[in-house]
């Protein structure tokens, strides 16, 4: 029989929800005209809307009815930082709270991570920008509480914008739908999961989870992750600024290593050109896959230098390398340890 394929295939509730959501297009919400649905944030659907007063496009997001703007949400609306998505207005329409915010072009980190894993340099760059946003917000007494890839936006120009500051506050209120609907367990620090007091270090924990997700198995982040993901908040970085300093140190370290390895490689290349020349003779054929792997790695892998280190440093200058690394790590960890202990 030639029946329509869509018949009954989408559950009724999803059909109704879709119809309700599309109903808003073209309508006015306060002085905003809803134009199109552009996606979803943690808690609500986001629409592109036209601010008819200021004649500009904004992103409009509806929040659950139980939500109400408290002191912290208002403080969040006042945040002005290049790495924080600006909130233009917090309002209500027919009893539904909404926020009008800066309309961003680009994609979320969640989408970015869905495509491919990130290069080490990029991980450091993104994490640093998030840390800057957190530092600025924490200074105003705003804790994010829901840092996760879906709340981190990377604009077409590569600027990182943290979304939804001050919104997840309602996760604590008894009227919210508990942990089921709001807040993302995978990113929550132990104190948040247990309903204890949260502070800046709760966001640092969540950022640690995000870094871990971005970095995959890159061992270079081990030390930083250790200090983000400690169960005891006191064992974490004391502030986002400290975390940023550690990331900065790591970046320096990668430069040092990349340079060191480049020079090592050059020296090696001069000493045994056969390994790098195109493999022609049968005598060297066994070496071809290794050489190829080595060359592609040195060109493209993201932990620039770190991948190579495993291959060539270990075999040639392991003693020198480990000493250099030890010194660099000591230099990296030294100031942080010092600054923590003075606090």
């Amino acid at each position: 029989m030639n029946w329509p394929e869509d018949f009954l295939e989408t559950p009724a509730f999803d059909l109704v929800a879709r119809a309700v959501q599309s109903q808003l297009i073209g309508t006015m919400v306060s002085h905003y005209r809803i134009e199109e649905r552009i996606g979803s944030g943690g808690m609500g659907i986001v629409y592109r809307a036209r601010d008819t007063r200021l004649q500009r496009d904004v992103a409009l997001k509806f929040l659950p009815e139980a939500w109400s703007a408290d002191r912290e949400a208002r403080a969040a609306a006042g945040l002005n930082h290049p790495n924080i998505c600006t909130i233009h207005e917090i309002g209500a329409h027919d009893g539904r709270p909404f926020i009008a915010m800066e309309l961003l072009e680009g994609r979320t980190l969640k989408q970015e991570l869905g495509v491919r894993s990130l290069e080490m340099g990029k991980v450091i760059e993104i994490a640093s920008q998030i840390a800057e946003a957190l530092d600025a917000a924490h200074a105003q007494g705003v804790i994010h509480r829901d840092i996760k890839p879906g709340n981190i936006f990377i604009t077409a120009r590569g600027v990182v914008k943290v979304l939804d500051f001050g919104i997840a506050v309602m996760a604590d209120s008894p009227d919210s739908h508990g942990g089921v609907a709001i807040g993302t367990r995978a990113y929550m620090a132990p104190e948040q999961l247990q309903g204890r007091a949260v502070d800046a270090r709760t966001d640092i924990f969540a950022l640690g989870v995000v870094i871990q997700q971005m970095a995959g198995k890159a061992a270079a982040f081990d030390r930083i992750l250790e200090r983000c993901l400690a169960n005891d908040p006191a064992a974490r970085f004391g502030s986002a600024r400290e975390l940023r300093a550690a990331l900065h140190g790591l970046r320096e370290l990668t430069f040092v290593f990349a340079d060191f390895e480049r020079r090592l490689l050059e020296r090696w290349r001069a000493a045994s050109p056969a390994a790098f020349a195109p493999i022609t003779s049968r005598r060297w054929a066994w070496w071809a896959p290794w050489a190829r792997a080595l060359r592609t790695r040195s060109r493209s892998t993201m932990p620039r230098g770190f991948g190579l280190r495993a291959l060539c440093l270990r075999s040639i200058g392991s003693a020198i390398a480990s000493t250099a690394r030890w010194r660099a790590c000591a230099a990296l960890n030294g100031p942080n340890t010092a600054s923590t202990s003075t606090m």
Binding site: L8, P11, F13, L15, V16, A17, M43
Partner: protein
């Protein structure tokens, strides 16, 4: 209403043992929670590929029963109760929308605004509900399969568990029921 997980568990058990009275007590309890959650979920986009129905029912389940260990049989029964109630909530909702539209607001509503179960032929939720009523008289289990799958958002496997028949039987019922309904609605 919430905070009596033992009652809900007991009622689910009693109902599965064939006590229809238990269902009468259970229904309003679940209806209340489901209605509340549905209101919230309608304005909320499903995360990625998760079906909203599943998220919603699970949320209600957690609210009513907590994160306690309840055997899958109970969960299947709970889903079955929810499917019936979802049918009631959603058809009521569709009816309300329809009458709202007939209320003659000057606002232009596009055709797609209708809650359509199928675009070709154009079938809406209310017509389907009535056709399903007629199917119940012809073949009750087939109608039940549609209720569980379409209104309850259950997978073939889950439907099989709720009705305690094989997944193959569910597949066959589902296909036959869809054919029957489409003939009825075309």
């Amino acid at each position: 209403m919430v905070g009596q997980p033992d009652d809900v568990t007991r009622l689910l058990h009693a109902w599965s043992q064939g006590d229809d009275g238990a269902l009468d007590v259970l229904m309003p309890l679940v209806y209340h929670e489901l209605h509340r959650a549905a209101h919230f979920h309608m304005a909320r986009e499903a995360p990625d590929n998760t079906l909203q129905t599943t998220a919603l029912v699970n949320e209600v389940y957690l609210r009513l029963l907590g994160a306690r260990e309840v055997d899958w049989q109970n969960r299947a029964h709970f889903h079955a109760v929810c499917a019936t109630l979802m049918r009631r909530i959603l058809t009521d909702f569709a009816r309300a929308r329809k009458s709202q539209k007939r209320g003659g607001s000057a606002e232009h509503l596009p055709l797609d605004d209708e809650i359509l179960v199928s675009h070709t032929p154009r079938v809406d939720l209310l017509e389907l509900d009535q056709a399903l009523e007629r199917l119940t008289a012809v073949n009750e289990r087939q109608a039940r399969v549609v209720e569980l799958r379409f209104f309850g958002g259950l997978s073939v496997q889950e439907t099989a568990e709720a009705l305690q028949v094989s997944p193959e039987t569910i597949q066959r019922d589902w296909r036959l029921a869809k054919d029957w309904l489409l003939r009825e609605l075309a």
